[in-house]
Symmetry: D2
Subunit: 132 residues, 4 copies
Amino acid sequence: MTEFIWRARVYWEDTDGGGVVFYANYLKYMERARTEWLRSMGHAQSELSEKFGFVFAVAEVKLNYRRPARLDDELSISCVPVPEGRASIRFQQVIRRGDEVLVEGEVRVACVDAKTFRPRRLPDFIRIHDGK
Amino acid sequence: MTEFIWRARVYWEDTDGGGVVFYANYLKYMERARTEWLRSMGHAQSELSEKFGFVFAVAEVKLNYRRPARLDDELSISCVPVPEGRASIRFQQVIRRGDEVLVEGEVRVACVDAKTFRPRRLPDFIRIHDGK
Amino acid sequence: MTEFIWRARVYWEDTDGGGVVFYANYLKYMERARTEWLRSMGHAQSELSEKFGFVFAVAEVKLNYRRPARLDDELSISCVPVPEGRASIRFQQVIRRGDEVLVEGEVRVACVDAKTFRPRRLPDFIRIHDGK
Amino acid sequence: MTEFIWRARVYWEDTDGGGVVFYANYLKYMERARTEWLRSMGHAQSELSEKFGFVFAVAEVKLNYRRPARLDDELSISCVPVPEGRASIRFQQVIRRGDEVLVEGEVRVACVDAKTFRPRRLPDFIRIHDGK
């Protein structure tokens, strides 16, 4: 099992009038972490789409909000990918501020054709080490 | 059981480079529907916060993405609230384009103190008809 | 001179931790008004792009922020289009809450090729009545 | 004259269905650069608001869009602050991809009371070296 960590700072754009991060915006941090995990293996999504004609589309999301993040917070976003079938990846993702867990999430991402959005088999060059 | 429906149009701001609505933005539509459901009962959240010192904080989200929404789509967002305990409401929410189901969601919202974010009992004037 | 008016409600998604609408988000309201002005003449941008291969790209923005908008505010966004040269339109746009002017803006939009982003002449079917 | 540079990556959240960064989102990058310029002098805005009761509110924006930014682009955002009167700062900001200028902007920010949004004199501890 490989855990990938990405960091993000909370800016005004992320907060809402309640003084905390708007609940949808945690999904932005999680997406950045998945994108950077992919980049860490040498793959930029703009290239995957142009060269290979596929994109990753989110199919399922589960989120548990434990504590709110606030302006100026430094967050770490973890990302543990597990293959699920031949056409999708399930990511376990946790957003923390220091040791505090703020949001726990699970995001299933499907590999789909960039034009038709139909499911496609994950390419072999996207390898996920599942610790076995 | 009361179903409340709110409508939204997809604008450029909602889409991403994949040509579809960015996955986090469906949560914005769902939030608007919950806010308008509350307003339909006479309650604006800015007033609830100022007069009564509480806000609704999202505690849990589950989303299933069936089909993508695209620029210019007219969406309907349903909202079926069910009380859960004394301090939270669970909303079943479906986003449709015509008869097509695009996204199915479940959102649990907790009543919390506007400053401390500690749980608070739902006020009596927020009445949810659960069909019994 | 034709003035087109569109309405928008302020939701949590629009506000920031300062308790007011985040400064970039007024541009979303202005974009909605321009899109709806175009739709009022029978043109959806998704169709313009697919059928005619062009999009409108913003080339210049000027904004004066007079007063902040807040959660639950009902805004009206005006839109007065004036042709500027053969390939662009200049919009005068004012965001109001009732009679109060909140934001005054000027937005120049260029007609560009949807793929190359090179300037293109405005199609004849987009007619702007400039009061002459 | 001090030029401060901040970097940002373009993620899916920033792009729109035209395949480029949504025009309002460049203002997010510019805000991050201003916030980090302030932080580089030891000031976090959450503290300024809590301890000293003021926030920075944007009063004017001018933007010239030269070329679009796209998914995965690495951007640099410059920030040259110049005091303007006793209660505001004017920032010259340029967004580049490598040597290419993408967006040129000017943003006037006013120091205002965090509650009333009335103008306040800039505190002495926010010092802007204007090269004289």
